[in-house]
């Protein structure tokens, strides 16, 4: 029976449909303003004449330490990325810690060291912070909240998107999600898969500086490539075609996803940016990406089709078939039977 939802489900935080409706129905109406309504990765705010981009994020990843990173690195990179893909040169971050009583200080130090290193690598400073401690059991080890500001260097918007635009991704999909899953309690499997957690600002700034015709960018985090492309299709009002044979995937990641029955399009990333670029600029943008260490496997994975009232994302499959790519539910469970 279709029941009215009375309680929050895990899927409400999954970056998929459920979260979308929670935001649209419960959150947006209460803070109605045009800027928030755009639901951009970072909000454009004018501060004393300067064009600033501003964002916030929270990090609740479990496990705290995973192949390729930890919550500290994630917190900095995730925030930097929200600014970078919105068209900013990230400048400064805040870091607020909510720590569970009993948390090992040695682990806290590791996390802080990671955050510091990530900030240095990304060329940002952590200029403000806060520390709270809650009773045992009230936080899963540690939660981190951040805010970030940056200087706007490009005017990116879904409104700029046109038919024929190319859709570029800077590398292999699904690495982060599968790395996390491989270490989730109860599902553990030993794996060479590393999270792709990384700060993308150097890459995005390089592309924005070298190439005109970048329409829009978004980083593909929870909900994966599928979520971002659906957001773009609906936001821009255009159908999108994705080409399976053009999707960069690491074979260990593919094998692991196959074992667990996951569709990699729905799986989280932490170092991937999807760029919508004018067709004539696509090759140049791709070139810039491939010359950068975070873009070696960059590829044009699809393109924007005609405007459509009920825009959808369609995948041209490797065997010559077609199927729709839906907005993910938000909590992809491993299938067994």
């Amino acid at each position: 029976m279709a029941e009215r939802r009375e309680r929050i489900l895990m899927a409400h935080g999954g970056g998929g449909r459920l979260m979308g409706s929670l935001i649209a129905e419960k959150i947006l109406p209460r803070f109605a303003n045009e800027t928030l309504g755009q639901l951009a990765d970072a909000a454009a705010v004018e501060v004393g004449g300067a064009n600033v981009l501003f964002t916030t994020d929270s990090f609740v990843v479990k496990p705290l330490f995973f192949n390729g990173g930890d919550i500290g690195k994630l917190a900095v990179c995730g925030t930097v990325n929200d600014l970078a893909v919105a068209g900013a040169r990230p400048v400064a971050l805040s870091l607020a810690l909510i720590i569970e009583e009993g948390f090992e200080i040695a682990l806290l130090e590791k996390i802080l060291d990671s955050a510091a290193e990530a900030a240095r690598d990304a060329g940002v400073q952590i200029v403000a912070g806060d520390t709270k401690v809650v009773e045992r059991g009230a936080a899963d080890g540690i939660f981190i909240n951040t805010a970030g500001i940056g200087a706007r260097i490009a005017d990116l918007s879904m409104r700029h998107i046109r038919s024929g635009d190319a859709i570029i991704i800077n590398g292999d999909i699904g690495d982060h999600g599968m790395a996390i899953i491989s270490q989730r309690k109860g599902l553990e499997f030993e794996s060479p898969i590393q999270s792709d957690c990384a700060a993308l600002s150097a890459l995005t700034c390089a592309v924005l500086e070298a190439v005109d015709g970048v329409r829009f960018m978004r980083d593909a985090t929870r909900g994966g490539v599928a979520a971002v492309l659906n957001e773009i299709a609906v936001g821009a009002g255009h159908d999108i075609e994705l080409v399976e044979a053009q999707l960069p995937v690491n074979h260990a990641v593919r094998a692991a996803a196959d074992m667990l029955g996951f569709d990699l399009l729905d799986i989280a990333n932490e170092g991937k940016v999807i760029m919508v670029v004018a067709a004539e600029s696509a090759e140049a943008a791709l070139e810039v990406c491939r010359n950068h260490e975070l873009g070696r496997n960059a590829a044009i994975m699809g393109r924007v089709l005609d405007a459509a009232e009920d825009a959808i994302v369609e995948l041209a499959t490797a065997i010559g078939g077609r199927r729709v790519v839906q907005m993910p539910y938000g909590r992809e469970l491993p299938r067994i039977c």
């Binding site: 279709a2 449909r17 109860g186 029955g261 009920d310 499959t317 065997i319 077609r322 839906q326």
Partner: protein
Amino acid sequence: MLNRIMKAQRLMDTACLRLGRPINVMEVCGTHTVSIFRNGIRPTLPEGLKLLSGPGCPVCVTDQGFIDIVLDLARREDCIIATYGDMVRVPGKAGSLETTHGADVRVVLSTDDALRLAELHPDKTVVFVAVGFETTTPATAVAVGEAVRRDLKNFCVLSGHKLVIPAMRALLSDKNNRIDAFLCPGHVSVIIGSDAYLPIVEEFGRPCVVAGFEPMQVIEGIAEICRQLAEGMAEVVSIYEGVVRPEGNRTAQKLMETYFEPYDGYWRGLGRIPGGTLRLRDEYGRFDAMRRFGIEEIPAEEPLGCRCGEVLCGLAAPMDCGMFESRCTPDTPVGPCMVSSEGACAAWYKYGRRRRRHG
């Protein structure tokens, strides 16, 4: 790869032309359903060749009464529900495992995990929700064996395990069926062996082709079916080479026989299927959740308007159901065909037609 696809397509086209009538191929495996949709196989098939999704999704064929039993047990403070991921969102009369506030539900990848839970929580009873066909049943059989050896007092199994051959027989015995051939499940066949389909071929004269799950396997499996139909043949053929054997996995078969016995249980949408469901044998009754908690299996009424049953038999397409995409969506599922990741309705909703609202 492209060459093989074209070759298979040519074979299918030729066969369809020769036959001169529409062909209905039914697959009875949830993983085939997903593979067909994820790889967008339908658009590559000739006009007139229809792929029907049959009752191959073990969650979809689980009667709602069974799900309500799971939810009742989940609400008990002394129970931990151990389940494969597929069952978590299936709706019963009042919610699902996911939405049952306070229920202690653990998603497990193997029965080992369920046994471990029982050892870690001696004060609770671990109820393992055993859903699945012959690929999954042997794992449960092993678990029951372990529970016997370790004399576990707080572990039990709620068995909804089902058998594929009785289902195929029931489908073909229905006068209204339009099934011309079966694409047979790859991994069930690993266990039961491809010879298990011989009685179906002999009794009903329908080709049975066993294929794996890679898209090439599915396409070539369908091509083989078309070839047989065009030549007026009906045979068991396995193209899942190097994996499926005629005799199957004897060890697994013996284990299933040791701990389980078939009975005429309820399948959603298909009613009672003779010998179609497995329950624990009497000597292992203490590990049967139904007996332990004194529960009786009562088939539940389908929610009004729900056509999961017909969809499961290939007699209706998801789009034919009045609730498809309106009242019944993946976020607000009415029946299991919509919520199970292998359900036909969920697959159509997720991967299927474009522009549903505009027809």
